[in-house]
Amino acid sequence: MMGVHLRNIRKVFGPVGVIHDVSMDIPAGEFAVFVGPSGCGKSTLLRMIAGLEDTSGGTISIEGTDVTWQEPAKRGVAMVFQSYALYPHLSVFENMAFSMRLKRAPKQDVHDKVMEAARILQLEEQLEKKPSQLSGGQRQRVAIGRAIVRQPKVFLFDEPLSNLDAELRVQMRLELARLHKQIGATMIYVTHDQVEAMTLADRIFVLKQGVVQQAGKPLDLYDDPDNRCVAGFIGSPAMNFLPATVLGREGDCLRVAIEGTEASLMARVSGDLPAGSRMTLGLRPEHLTTADAGVPVTVEMAEDLGGVSYLHTHMPDGREIVVEWRGSRHAGGGEAIKLTCAPEKVLVFDEQDQRIR
C-alpha cells in the first residue's frame, strides 16, 4: 500500500490526550492538508508522522513500511518548518547539501542534486549567500530546497507560509502547487488558513480537538460538510449560523422559524424532524439574497472589495449575518433589508452540531 497510512493513532501528553484514534489514508502523490483551529492537534499529528513526537498508540506506515518506531531520518520524510530552520552559519548551497554531506555522498552527487533543486526553485543566483542575506520568500524556498535534495517519500510542511506577508504568501502558494505538480511527491501540509487548504489540497482533513471531523476534496467539504465545525471552518467569510425551530414539513422541505424574528426559511432536508425541534441553520454569505419576505437585518457596514462587497448586518437581537454582494455597489450602513436563501442551499445542523441531510 503506497502513500501514508495512519491507523488508530493516539497521542497523550501525561494525562492529556491530544490525538484521539485518528485513522487516515493519503495515497502516494497526493497533496493532503491538515486544517483546523489552533490547538486542534494538526501540527502534533504531522510531527508524529515525521517521528519528532512519539506515538502513544496506533501505527504509521509510509510506502507500505511500518515506521511508527523508526527514527525520523530513516522514515523517508523531509519537513519544512514555519520558521524555516535554516542553518544561519552555512551558505544556501551548504544548507541544501547538509543532509547529503552527513551521508558522505560523493561530491558530484551533492553538487548535482543541489543544483537541480536550486534550478526548480530558481535559487541559482543565491547559492553562495547566507540565509540572513535572503528575503523571507527566498528563505522558505531554501527550506523547501533542502527537503527536495533529500528526495523524500513524503514532504511535510508545518505552516510554511505563516511568516510571509500576504502577497508573498499567494505567490509561494502557487509555487508550492506548481512544485507538487512538477515532482509529484506525496505532500502533507498543515495550516490554519482555510484559503491555503482550499487552494492547495487534493484532500483536506479537518481536525478539532484531536479528532478528524471530516476528510475529502476541498469543494466536497465546502458544499457538503458533515458538521458545524467543518461548515464553519471551510469558506471565507465564514458560514452564518442561525438558531431555528422546525415549524413543519412542506413537500421535500422543512419550514423553520428563525429565532428572534418572525421570519421563516425553507430548508431542503429529507431527514425527519418533528415540529418544535431545535436546530441550527447554516447559510453561506454568497447564498444569501435580498427578498420582500425573509430575515430582517440592518446593514451595519459594507466592505467594498471592488468586484464583491461583504455586508456586515445584524438581526434585531444583535446577531451578525455576513452577506456577499455582487453587482451594484452598496451605498453604506443603516439600511434595513430582508434576507432569504434557496432551500437547497440551507444547511441544517442538529443540537449536537451534526449535519441533517
Binding site: 525520523p72 531520518a73 520524510v77 519537513m79 518548518f81 520558521s83 530552520a85 542553518y87 543532509s99 552527513l102
Partner: protein, 275 residues
C-alpha cells in the same frame, strides 16, 4: 548648552585622573624596570624616566628560569582552557538539549558548585593532590582548575536559545548529537566560545594562589609563582622583579589588546550570569 559643555569637561578631566591613578603602578613598574638596580634605590629617583637600561630584562631572561616558567604557564593555561571549554560545552549541551533522569538535579549541582568559593576547597584539594602524588606536577596545577561552572551556565543559556526547529531539522537530516553540537551549536556560538576561552586563559595565566601551594620546585613554577623566586634568589632586586612581572603580564596584555571586545563581552555575559 553651556552647562552641558562644562559637564563634559568635568567628566573628561575626572576620567583622565582616574585613568592616571589606575595606570600609575604599571608606569612605575616600567620605569623601575628600565633603571639600574643602583638608580632604583638611590635618592631622588622620581617619576620621570632618567635612564634607559635593559640590563634587568637581560638578567630576568638569562639569570632566572623565566623561559621555563613561561613554558609552564603556557602549557597549563592552554590545557586548562581547552579542557574547560570542551567539557563545559559538552556538559551544557547535555543539560540543555538531552532528556535524561536527573538532568535538573545535575544542573542544580552545577549551580551549587558555583556558590562554593575556591578558597574553601584548598585544603581538601591539596590533600587530594598530595595523595595522588601530583604535587609539583602540571596535573597538580591543572586538575583543580578544571571546574568552571560559569562556562557551563553561559553555554547552557546560549544553547537554550537555539530554536527547537533547528535541532529537529538536523535530526530529520540524519544528524545526531555529535553533528548537532559540533556542526550547529558550536558554530552558531563561536563568539561566546572565543570570549569564554579568552577569559578562561587569562584567569588560568594569572592564577597565583593554587600553583603557589602545589608547586615547590622552581622548574615546575608558572610565571606568577616564579616572580616570588626572583625576590628570594637575588635579594630585593626591584628592577629585575619588575621586568619579570612585566614580561609575565605581557602575553595577557597582548591577548587583551587583541581581543578587547571579546573579553569585555565575556565579562559582561559571565557577570550577567552571576547576577
Amino acid at each position: 548648552m553651556k552647562t552641558r559643555k562644562l559637564e563634559n569637561w568635568v567628566l573628561g578631566i575626572g576620567s583622565l585622573l582616574a585613568a592616571a591613578i589606575w595606570v600609575f603602578p604599571l608606569y612605575w613598574a616600567f620605569i623601575t624596570s628600565i633603571r639600574t638596580e643602583e638608580r632604583v634605590v638611590s635618592e631622588g629617583a622620581g617619576v620621570i624616566p632618567d635612564e634607559f637600561n635593559l640590563s634587568s630584562y637581560l638578567a630576568a631572561i638569562f639569570d632566572t628560569k623565566l623561559l621555563t616558567w613561561y613554558w609552564n604557564s603556557i602549557g597549563t593555561s592552554v590545557i586548562i582552557t581547552l579542557v574547560v571549554i570542551v567539557s563545559g560545552m559538552m556538559c551544557a549541551y547535555a543539560i540543555s538539549q538531552m532528556r535524561f533522569p536527573g538532568r535538573r538535579l545535575l544542573y542544580g549541582v552545577v549551580l551549587a558548585s558555583f556558590m562554593v568559593p575556591s578558597q574553601a576547597l584548598v585544603v581538601t584539594q591539596f590533600i587530594l593532590m598530595n595523595d595522588m602524588g601530583l604535587i609539583n606536577t602540571w596535573a597538580g596545577i591543572i586538575l583543580p582548575q578544571l571546574i568552571v561552572p560559569v562556562v557551563i551556565i553561559v553555554y547552557k543559556q546560549f544553547f537554550d536559545a537555539v530554536p527547537k526547529e533547528m535541532r529537529e531539522a538536523v535530526v530529520l537530516d540524519g544528524g545526531g548529537d555529535y553533528t548537532l553540537l559540533f556542526k550547529i551549536y558550536l558554530p552558531l556560538n563561536w563568539g561566546i566560545t572565543t570570549a569564554l576561552a579568552i577569559i578562561t586563559f587569562i584567569s588560568a595565566w594569572n592564577q597565583f594562589f593554587w600553583p603557589f601551594l602545589v608547586i615547590t620546585t622552581e622548574n615546575q613554577m608558572t610565571i606568577p609563582v616564579g616572580i616570588t623566586q626572583v625576590n628570594d634568589a637575588f635579594g630585593v632586586y626591584y628592577a629585575r622583579l619588575m621586568s619579570v612581572a612585566l614580561l609575565g603580564a605581557m602575553p595577557v596584555a597582548i591577548a587583551y589588546l587583541v581581543f578587547q571586545k571579546k573579553v569585555t563581552e565575556a565579562v559582561m555575559i559571565s557577570s550577567g550570569v552571576k547576577g
